[in-house]
Amino acid sequence: MLGYLIRRLTSLVLSLAVASAVIFVVVEVAPGDPASYMLGLNAQPDTVAALRAELGLDVPRLQRYLNWVGGMLTGDFGTSYTYRTPVSQMIADRLWISLPLALYALTLSTLIAFPAGILAAARRGRPADMGVMAATQLGVAVPNFWFAMLLVLLFAIRLGWFPSGGFPGWDEPLDAMVSLTLPAVALALPQAAILARVMRSSLIDILGEDFIRTARAKGLTRGQALWRHGLRNALIPVLTIIGLQFSFLIAGAIIIEQIFFLPGLGRLIFQSISQRDLIVVESVVMLLVFAVIMVNFLTDLAYAIVDPRLRRRA
């Protein structure tokens, strides 16, 4: 186990190091100097140079990369060029919208997908199964931003049950949840379709195993065998997909936040890109990548603890 842990940790650190270098290079080669952008077209060259020095843009690139990474390791994400506030503070503020939104969507998608997948597997080949499978085909084909527009059209404009956008803040928890509902539903639908398919195929695989036949021979009905012995064993691939979906939810949230005017991380990225606030862009993207890599790492680790056979691989 220790050897496995060391191998996985090494590859984790390596992945993060390469990822940070890639992000830094991609953002740094971008045309457009933040200092001249901030000062406008009529700025004097010496003013621009002074601002560059103040922002720390005059030191060599390698030095800036090391400063950036070193800062992040100590929790210092730098200072926004545009707003002059610590990036970590900006991220923390936005995270209070993006994270609840992603979790809300994840909860919804699980609540839809589990019953649908279990139903389809239990009624394999029958109308209920075919209905669920047809719905999932449709679910993966619908772009979530279009689904969001339809939701707004029906529930915000026609019925007026939900706001069409904006966020009132967490001081009013109920209002806040209401305003996150349509975005969360829009994000959850395609994820639920994928998850329901994984749940179904995983359960069908398990139901073909010997121990299920033993359980049936013992006198359990099909349904009892499925609930008591099948479900728990079918959960491993399902949990992997839930882990992976976390990253899709964060990415999907970027577009959904635009539609519903939610001031989350997605809008922060768009704003900072257009204002050439490079340090914010770099740090937010790095944070997202870090979250994805960590989730995958923890999922692998959890399996290795549960299933010793997995420790030898990878």
Binding site: S15, V140, L153, I157, R197, A251, I254, L288, V292
Partner: protein, 271 residues
Amino acid sequence: MSRTLILGAVLSAVFVAAALVSFVWTPGDVEGIDIANRLKPPGAAGLLGTDHLGRDMLSMIMTGARTSIAVAIVAVGIGMGFGVPLGLAAAAHKGGLLDELISRGNDLIFAFPSLVIAILITAIAGPGAVNAIIAIGIFNIPVFARLSRGAALGLWTREFIMAARVAGKGAARISAEHILPNIANLLIVQGTIQFSLGILAEAGLSYVGLGAQPPLPSWGRMLADAQTMVAIAPHVAIIPGLAIVLTVLGLNLLGDGLRDALDPRLKVLRT
């Protein structure tokens, strides 16, 4: 032939045909502005109505199909063109430094939330169809590299490959002459799935203004234009979305149908 395959093939063919026909004929003008006839509902002006500038929606959908298909084809081409040789090379040198490098590289690209990076690339390199293609294409590389490495590894242990090695063929030649034809089915099936994902990704990027730029019609941008008009003219929002859904659905059904028809034992990596 299964019903899935037929339905998928028909839906896909309709959109490819619409795109091809748009090169020589469209029912209306996609560049001319006709404010007097704007936001006409389907039937009142043309089969599918008109948009906020009075342009014929059917013509816009047909020319938009061109953009979607072109972006997705090239993006899948990038993925296959780089991914398959890398995957085959990794399999041929299993356990070696090259295999390790390629596999770790794959893992790394998979760890990036693809849409975030696509947004980053297009935002920084400038919005446009070409940058959208590159951004989507990069994330197709590891998909095909993984798929072909996995499938090739299984083939390398088979007798006919042994025979080829005994006959003195090198790893590169065996990969090209014996491995590649045997994984072609798998690549075609995965190709249709990546194609449909490419169409979704292009629509998403164009929707946020980072994909195809005017005057190039694009389904994603039609939706973006429609956003503020949803309440007064729902058809401008519903029709481009339906076009996306039907195309993606058609390609997915085609992929499923092809998989079952080509080899029932195949299990395809679905992301």
